[in-house]
Point group: C2
Chain length 213, copies 2
Amino acid sequence: MTRELFRENAESIRVKKEKTAVKNLERIIDAVFSISMEKGFQAMSMRDLCDESGLSMGGLYGYIKGKEELLALIQGQGRRMLERFLAESLTDLTDPFEKLDALIRAHVYLSEVARPWFFFSFMESRHLGKEDVSRAIAMEAATEKALSDLIEEGIDNNAFAPCDAELMAGLIKAMQQDWYLKRWKFKKRGTTVEQYADAVVDMAFARLARKEG
Amino acid sequence: MTRELFRENAESIRVKKEKTAVKNLERIIDAVFSISMEKGFQAMSMRDLCDESGLSMGGLYGYIKGKEELLALIQGQGRRMLERFLAESLTDLTDPFEKLDALIRAHVYLSEVARPWFFFSFMESRHLGKEDVSRAIAMEAATEKALSDLIEEGIDNNAFAPCDAELMAGLIKAMQQDWYLKRWKFKKRGTTVEQYADAVVDMAFARLARKEG
DNA sequence: GTCTATAGTATGATAGAC
DNA sequence: GTCTATCATACTATAGAC
């Protein structure tokens, strides 16, 4: 994962030995997540980043052109991950409820595995450059559209109760997001990711089920 | 509202003429919201704040001790507002569904009226001092507990379908929050606050309705 | 009560030794 | 490839004129 990141940004990275570069890039990105989680990206100084990553001031600048570029770098890493995920999650299920179930769970589990990235991305994406903001919005819209397409399809097939598919998809997304935004709360309560995903699916199913009789 | 804020912090505000002080405090707080919405509180310099509020560097420091204090000041303002709201929203309805409906809507409408504060508070509360963080968490927990108590009561009365009331309250809260977190999205789509509140209520009702037969 | 000018400090970035 | 030392800049906060 980080290796791809290195190869893609190879021109702007002064360090050429892949093994070293990948190792240090990983430490840098982890450090950014860790510091940003606590005090936010804007409040993080490059000196903070040096302390946390173990590199020196000069060493750090062998990997990145500047603080601004860090945002785009991390954003790109996550985008690749999400793109791969979106492609893979086009499963060959046919039942609308099963498909919705799979799509909801996939996103929640992915955000559990890559929680630092999701949290960081949500909190800091507003501060990206103009071009990266549009890309982030497009990515956000794509995940939501996957949901709303599925819902719309289910409504057309009379499998789901009629409703505003776009609005519905937004509500489901809001619930999915809460899992990585309120980590401390769920940790304190001992809620597991499975329990949470179950609850979101139950909620969506209840709303989309056609009333009998 | 801002007058109370002035009176409560009167010792630390150098300007003593109430009318002037209230007017300027309002401009300062609005400016903080405006700048933070765009670039985040941490990235806002005191010079930015001067430009946006129309005060000079020296003038500004007549109202606040420092940048740190601004956070606590704004947090306090919102807390007062929320406390008042929580006290008022204890209506005398009896039907569990009506009560839940009222509670959900009240929060969404309040967040519509005071959206800058809600957005700011969500994004920046992590960076408060230790004491203020606990107070923010307590406030967050209180609004969620109002929901979960109501749900639990409804389950006990056999009015609602059984479920984990705490988890359910969290999901409803997540949907409520999305209204002020994704303002641009809803604005673009033309979704109104009434439509949104309706959708959240529908979702909650569907999940909590007891299945007939 | 508000302004301008400035002191002192922390920051992002680089040059050059190893 | 990495470090230490250093630069120019931008910041918070205050002092003193008006």
